[in-house]
């Protein structure tokens, strides 16, 4: 173990210390001091995580807490596994936290300086979640992440809507945590181990109803966090009411971490169990993913509340990432991780921009915003660029991920997954374009509206200062620019593809964990699919623009051409399902659990 590996616990320890310092002294600190301390600790975490990432490229490091090294195949202690994907996600989480804290600089109401320590706890939990190699540890960080998130979501307790959103979020995600814990307990009962690698080794392809049951519980638990249909209902309620910087971390990181956990558990623990049922397993995930893309995309276009629209777009993109994972294999997982990275930047940029709109124009509903944004060209440019990024337009890194998916689906003999990527891009990009055309240009006959968009959100900032400062522009501009720059930066793709190959290989993970040595693997590549994805992205953005225009200029079009107008319409049953009642959401969780459980038991038997 090198000296750098000794730093592995710091991405968790540093923000925790920062949170303790801030929480302890919050009564004596003024706003600027609390913000500065928060940013300093988050930036220090970012530096450490980036150092770990840079080091992990040369070889995975295993850190055993208290030097409890494994004896033979028996793991005695808890390990932090610093491999490029975990370290990369920790770096991304720290980066987004720094940007979110910078964005909230003396600006977003901090709820009596509770905001900064909670953000640091949230960061610590996310870092721990991606670095740990222990299943129970994973649950603890999952729960810590959730608890910090519930509190952050309900920070604006002056209004009833945040309480509703936060309560629904807390109930559904607590159920998720219990499912994960029950699954962990069952796996411990079967294998006597809590370390993921040792569980995988002990299971060794064992295939009985108990293992399938544990798999169902764990997967559904993480799917609730990842907002996969029918577990997605909490997400729009929570996003619509959380402060903007918190939305950035929810959509940019937290939701994706649910999917990361599914991929990690599948590769390390269940890979051999399902080796003989690859087709059925892929089929189940493809169906769930496609359902998520369709529901997320259609509802995204039907929303007129900016944050709710972006929240449904996150559901749609989580579905796309699940589809990428469903294809299976190193190329597909590398494509999924590329999409995760690109989406995190694009969606964070859009949420920051929505925050600037709320700050400057004092409203978040499309109808109230109509025509009020004329002259805000900087904000408009960021908004439209973000929309193009969601649609997977060529210079954005989302396009690279789509290329990977096209390549992987061809290798797997599948068709249509790439079409769903175009569909997702066109619905979410179209919704962003439509709102942009209405708000910044004031085109057309005026926007429609819906009941949720009429629930006014109190602006997050004080009325007297509506100026847009540099620290409002910097975070969204940085995010959008990163999503563009990633497509041109050399080097990172090779690292990511290599790491993805190591992630999906159970023998490689086991070997690394027990010996500390990294295995060299064949690099997956998808260069030849890039021109095709460019074409798909171009089609996507043109269709998204056309869809937005068919909504905006509906009066000038003949009936069959008013596609956007139709899609914006009532969609009654879909909207009714989004009832805002926690009981209904738990009912849907039960239905989803039963459906996925029976599919697993019947098809993967």
């Amino acid at each position: 173990m090198s000296h750098i590996a000794q730093l592995s616990p710091l991405p968790v320890v540093l923000p925790m210390v920062g949170a303790a310092v801030l929480a302890g002294s919050r009564k004596w600190l003024n706003r600027a001091a609390a913000d500065s301390i928060g940013i300093a600790f988050a930036a220090a975490t970012l530096a450490i995580s980036a150092l770990l990432l840079a080091h992990s490229v040369h070889g995975t490091e295993i850190y055993w807490f208290g030097n409890w090294y494994p004896r033979g195949s028996v793991v005695l202690g808890i390990a932090f596994v610093t491999e490029p994907i975990g370290a990369g996600l920790a770096t991304l989480a720290a980066l987004l936290t720094v940007l979110a804290l910078l964005f909230s600089w003396r600006f977003v109401d901090s709820g009596g300086n509770h905001f900064q320590p909670l953000m640091l706890v949230f960061l610590a939990a996310m870092s721990g979640f991606v670095l740990t190699g222990d299943l129970f540890n994973l649950f603890v960080f999952f729960e810590l992440m959730s608890t910090a998130a519930f509190a952050l979501c309900g920070l604006k307790t002056a209004e009833p809507a945040p309480l509703q959103g936060s309560f629904n979020f807390a109930v559904t995600n607590s159920v998720a945590a219990f499912l994960v814990l029950s699954g962990t307990g069952l796996l411990y009962a079967v294998t006597g181990a809590l370390n993921m690698a040792q569980i995988g080794l002990a299971l060794g392809g064992r295939h009985d109803p108990l293992v399938l049951f544990a798999f169902t519980l764990l997967t559904c638990g993480f799917f609730i966090k990842a907002a996969i249909v029918p577990f997605h209902f909490w997400l729009p309620d929570a996003h619509a009411v959380a402060p903007t910087p918190v939305c950035v971390l929810f959509s940019g990181m937290m939701v994706e971490l649910g999917l990361y956990a599914v991929v990690r558990l599948h590769s390390v623990i269940f890979a051999q169990t399902f080796a003989a049922h690859e087709g059925a397993f892929r089929g189940i995930l493809l169906v769930i993913g496609a359902l998520t893309v369709v529901v997320g995309g259609v509802m995204c276009y039907a929303e007129h509340h900016l944050k709710r629209m972006l929240a449904f777009s996150t559901i749609c993109h989580a579905g796309l990432m699940l589809l990428a994972f469903a294809i299976q294999g190193p190329v597909a997982v590398a494509a999924m991780l590329t999409y995760l990275l690109a989406h995190a930047f694009v969606k964070s940029g859009l949420f920051f921009t929505a925050g600037v709109i709320l700050h400057r124009l004092r409203s978040i509903g499309e109808k109230a915003l109509y025509g009020t944004g004329k002259g805000l060209w900087g904000v408009a440019a960021l908004w439209f660029l973000g929309g193009a990024g969601l649609a997977g337009a060529p210079p954005f890194a989302t396009m690279l991920a789509e290329a990977g998916v096209s390549h992987a689906q061809k290798d797997a003999g599948l068709h249509g997954v790439a079409l769903l990527f175009i569909f997702g891009g066109l619905m979410t990009g179209g919704a962003v374009f439509r709102i942009g055309m209405h708000t910044f240009f004031g085109w057309g006959a005026g926007p429609k509206t819906d009941p949720a968009a009429e629930v006014g959100e109190l602006p997050e900032t004080a009325e007297e200062n509506r100026k847009i400062f540099w620290y409002h522009y910097l975070p969204p501009a940085f995010c959008i620019a990163s999503a563009l720059a990633l497509a041109f930066l050399p080097g990172w793709m090779a690292v990511l593809r290599n790491a993805a190959a190591a992630m999906v290989s159970q023998p490689a993970y086991l070997h690394t964990l027990y010996t500390g040595q990294t295995v060299a693997l064949a690099l997956p590549s998808w260069k030849r699919a890039v021109p095709e994805a460019c074409l798909h992205g171009a089609i996507g953005i043109v269709l998204a623009g056309a869809l937005a225009c068919s909504s905006v200029f509906r009066r000038k079009l003949k009936k069959p051409l008013r596609v956007g107008d139709f899609l914006e319409g009532p969609m009654r049953p879909w909207r009714d399902a989004q009832s805002g009642h926690p009981g209904d959401y738990v009912m849907w969780i039960t239905v989803g659990l039963a459906a996925i459980g029976s599919a697993t038991m019947l098809l993967l038997r």
Binding site: F136, V140, E143, T147, F150, A151, G154, T157, A158, E159, P160, A161, L163, Q164, G165, S166, F167, A170, V171, S174, V175, A177, F178, L181, S182, T184, G185, L186, Y188, A189, L194, D237, A240, V241, D450, P451, A452, V455, R575, D576, Q578, S579, G580, H581, P582, G583, D584, V586, M587, T590
Partner: protein, 118 residues
């Protein structure tokens, strides 16, 4: 008979799980929802304790007992303790939200709380 007794904790865990779910789905009072969630969580206690239980096992205190003496599994008991801490935090946070909701809007029903839907 012994076999049935061995399985009892799992039946109780499943029973508590479904009681909690039923309570959450049908709840018409926010405090009732929170308590249902706590009941749902107690199913995980039963499950974990059931997994660690050994018939005839002593308490896992390794002072003054012969080496090799059968004990119940201390690891799952530690997990369960962590679980209890988690529950305390979640329940406290949720109840605080309920108090806030009651203060702000005077409502204690999840149906009245919802301001945003669709």
């Amino acid at each position: 008979m012994q076999h049935v007794l061995n399985c009892t904790p799992y039946f109780v865990a499943a029973w508590l799980f479904f009681c909690g779910l039923y309570g959450l789905v049908t709840s018409r009072h926010l405090v009732h929802s929170v308590i249902s969630l706590a009941i749902l969580q107690s199913s995980t206690y039963m499950l974990l304790l059931g997994i660690g239980y050994r018939v005839g096992g002593a308490a896992p205190v390794f002072v003054g007992i012969a080496p090799g003496q059968l004990t119940v599994d201390p690891i799952v008991q530690a997990l369960m303790l962590t679980d209890i801490v988690v529950e305390a935090v979640v329940v406290a946070l949720l109840l605080a939200m309920v108090v806030k909701a009651h203060e702000k809007s005077g409502c204690v029903s999840p149906t009245d709380l919802r301001t945003m839907r669709g």
